[in-house]
Assembly symmetry: C2
DNA sequence: TCACTTACTTTCCAATAGGAAACCAGTTTC
DNA sequence: GAAACTGGTTTCCTATTGGAAAGTAAGTGA
């Protein structure tokens, strides 16, 4: 008799795995968390503002990631009737709800950097 | 005078962005969080156990992701001197520290599913 | 008319991710 | 001796990601 999976083979684990898969898909790619974080901090922001804030992003990727996140309702897009037309992006309720996750991510990332720098200072650097 | 970036142009934001980038790099790919979650729940696990638990993963990806995470010190690898040699993978201190982030991710993912199902049941589906 | 702004879109390309299948080496069981 | 278990590695292939650069459309100012 072959061994069968046991751990992940129950409803609670499957629900958790689905939730993780959803979150990873919706936040996938190099830029989404960066864009989202910038909008969370900055409030309403226009396309060119975002491109200026987010170092290194091209207009193609910015437009694409914004569209993805609008479809997934993480943010809203409003076209303003200005002289050259401007577009405002704002965080939605469900986008805001990502803040605790992002904060935990930041906490872990910072802790991990600390670990690495402490290990590498074993050989007597100052500080 | 052109507009200059302001929001992300300070030390606190840069530190946060670096932390997010670190976390995303270390956890990148389709399988790492799944593998990690399985080891967190299951404790010490062997290669074939993991392959049985994680539905759909091939030996190539499992081996590669385990190596990545061992290098990044999220888990430990121990070769046991058994009849056919067996290898145990176990979560490390820094891997364990990911649990709060994973939990926040799960919370958000579940809340997001709720949102979608509530919106889609507007047209009267049963349950 | 020319240049510059807005917000994108399109095209073309290179690099990476990831899967299927075969293979490998050592040990045990039938 | 053949088959099956262990924990992988190797090869080959396709699909996705993401970047650079140019183009588009509409409006403003000199």
């Amino acid at each position: 008799m072959k061994k069968q999976p046991q751990l992940n083979n129950n409803q609670i684990c499957q629900t958790r795995l689905n939730a993780i898969r959803d979150a990873m898909e919706i936040l996938s790619g190099k830029w989404k968390l960066n864009i989202l974080g910038t909008i969370i901090v900055g409030g309403k922001m226009r396309f060119m503002d975002l491109q200026r804030e987010i170092h290194g992003i091209g207009s193609k990727m910015l437009a694409k990631e914004l569209q993805d996140m609008e479809v997934n309702q993480l943010l809203t897009r409003t076209v303003l009737d200005t002289k050259p037309v401007t577009v405002e992006y704002e965080i939605s309720e469900y986008g805001k709800a990502l803040a605790p996750m992002i904060d935990e991510m930041v906490k872990w990332g910072i802790g991990y950097r600390d670990l690495l720098s402490r290990k590498s200072t074993t050989k007597g650097q100052f500080s």
